[in-house]
């Protein structure tokens, strides 16, 4: 059930990285919100700032080199950037994250039992051992792990890729969090395992009424999983709207190019993709960051960053092509 209360609201967020060559202006005034019980997708190609966004929300950006400039991240109505300590505490309590590569995110020198009980200890250091064990087993069984008892005493390297990701999901759901951040949870897995993991995530999130942000460059899995979707390009949100609507009627030229370039089961070949490559963050284009590659670029696109035009049915698009269509699509 999606309610109208906004669990998370990111407003005008700027994140930049200070590196040897200069300043990488990655997030450039990004807006995003997640309502309670909602599954939100974030689509974009490699290097478009999706992971920076998630890490910013989870407050795990490596700072330095990263720095958060302007902007607000409101979680449960409180700005978590306002008070450093309190903000981080709130996020640790209410948000958990699943990473892309389960192999890299599980310490290979610790057993699954140690890894999982650390999570529980952080919540309540005095929890009795028996209770801790019971809740670990329960968490593993929730993710449909075969022989949970055995897995608990294994090291991550003894498990297969799919099982490792199941452990990561079980760990993320050990605590009663409000928001689950999934950063390409199935990219490193095979397609049949991917289906299992996505079905599992969908089920768990729906059953426990959590909210989720699913980040992926696999368009198909976002379409299958989410209620609303954001399309990101070079640190900017290009467009957003209800998933079904966006996939049926993409508006932004980037989204259109992306969908056309995706090979489809219907055959009929693929388009030639989008000319050019993602711009450098050292000197991103002045106006719309997509303008150098845009087939419909206009003079104004080169000069001024497009604002977000709100159309009806929760559709929003940051493109001057739709300047006259505010409030409607046609």
């Amino acid at each position: 059930m999606v309610t109208e209360t906004r669990l998370l609201e990111v407003e005008n967020l700027h994140v930049f990285y200070e590196v040897y060559e200069g300043v990488l202006k990655v997030l450039n005034g990004t807006n995003l919100y997640v309502r309670r019980g909602e599954k939100v997708g974030l689509i974009g190609e490699a290097g478009c700032g999706k992971t920076t966004m998630l890490k910013g929300i989870a407050r795990i950006l490596p700072m330095p080199p990263a720095q958060i400039g302007d902007g607000r991240i409101c979680f449960k109505g409180k700005d978590i950037l306002d008070d450093e300590k309190e903000g981080v505490r709130m996020v640790r309590k209410g948000v958990s994250m699943i990473f892309q590569d389960p192999t890299a995110s599980l310490n290979p020198t610790l057993t699954v039992r140690t890894l999982m009980s650390d999570v529980l200890k952080s919540e309540d250091p005095h929890m009795p051992k028996a209770k801790r064990n019971a809740s670990m087993i329960e968490a593993l069984e929730r993710v449909a792990m075969p022989s949970a008892q055995r897995v608990l005493d294994s090291y991550s390297i003894q498990l297969s890729g799919g099982m490792r990701q199941r452990v990561c999901i079980a760990m993320a759901l050990l605590k009663d969090v409000d928001l689950l951040l999934a950063d390409e949870p199935t990219t490193s897995l095979d397609v049949t395992i991917e289906e299992q993991i996505l079905d599992l995530l969908n089920d768990l999130v729906a059953r426990s009424q959590k909210s989720m942000i699913l980040v992926s460059h696999a368009l198909g899995s976002v379409r299958k999983m989410t209620d609303r979707v954001y399309v990101m390009y070079a640190g900017d949100i290009a467009e957003s709207g209800p998933t079904k609507d966006v996939f049926e009627r993409p508006l932004h030229p980037y989204t259109r190019g992306l969908f056309e370039a995706t090979p489809k089961l219907t055959g009929a070949g693929v388009s030639d993709g989008i000319a050019g490559e993602i711009p450098s963050y050292l000197e991103p284009p002045e106006g719309c960051r997509f303008s150098p590659r845009c087939p419909k670029g206009m003079q104004v696109c080169l000069e001024k960053k497009p604002p977000i035009f709100a159309l009806n049915n929760r559709r929003e698009v940051a493109c001057y092509l739709y300047a006259s269509n505010v409030g409607s699509i046609s």
Binding site: I193, R223, A268, G269
Partner: protein, 335 residues
Amino acid sequence: MLPVCVERRKHLMRDTNKKILEVRDLKKQFKTRYGILTAVAGVTFQINEGEIYGIVGESGSGKTTVGSMITGMYKSDGGEILYKGQDINKPAVQRSRESKRAIQLVFQDPGGSLNPRQTIRQILSLPLLLHGRAKKGPALEDKIVQTIKKVGLPASYLDKYPQAIGGGEKQLVCIARALAPEPSFIVLDEPTSALDVSIQAKITNKLLELQKEFKLSYLFITHNLCLVRNLVHRTAIMYLGQLCEMASTEDFFTEPLHPYTKMLLSSIPVISEAEEKYKPITVRSIGEIPNPINRPTGCGFNTRCPFARDICKDREPEMIEVKDGHFVSCHLADT
């Protein structure tokens, strides 16, 4: 359900088109600390001239190992590899110069397969010199420029280093390098899976264009079924070192027979309603690919197969031709 009229022929021995590559009962085992790992357990297929042949499989299915044996990077443990009727089942050093020139390879990760300390000119000149396409001097320079123009990159790129160009362009350089000795057959080992969708499309179309222009044959190794649909003429599905099903791409998508093929097809996440119609069969995915050190007895897929019967655990199914050019290795299709 399954076609009843199963035509039993001595399998895979048809001779319709001119074959460029024939692989018969190819095997490969690796010795590991934990025992013998059977990566490829008897694979038979043929590729016709001018054909794009796809091998699809999950990680660990042995598809890359097959490609490596064809190009001579691995020595096989049994079976035959024939290039235009000539036996080339030996390591690359012992192969004839001609067959080495004719079979080229493009790797998955373009960043890792280009030497960062060489300019693109150096990268492209080596295969030209090695295979005697040109002698040092202005003739070589001409050839290099010709080669890079084949893939649509400007000659100004020749003095750049790989790290100065984008991922898609790097892969184009890899393709140019493979094209340099004027091969007739290229093994493409997941050439687009490390690239973004918008760039992947460009590479895919370029590969198609080159195939038509130079009448090349490809062995396209991939795990992306959507790409197979758009690119490949005939497809083979590989699971645990063996082929489960071989068919023309059209047959394969309209009438999949092997339960594993059905499972694969029904688990593809697609991006439009129109595509959902192309996944008529729902076989829910269960379990994971077994360890190739500890292969299950009988059919390799029986541990995950929702239709498995007793015979599947006891006896390995044979590859049979169900329909013209449509082969499947499954006990269910046998009856």
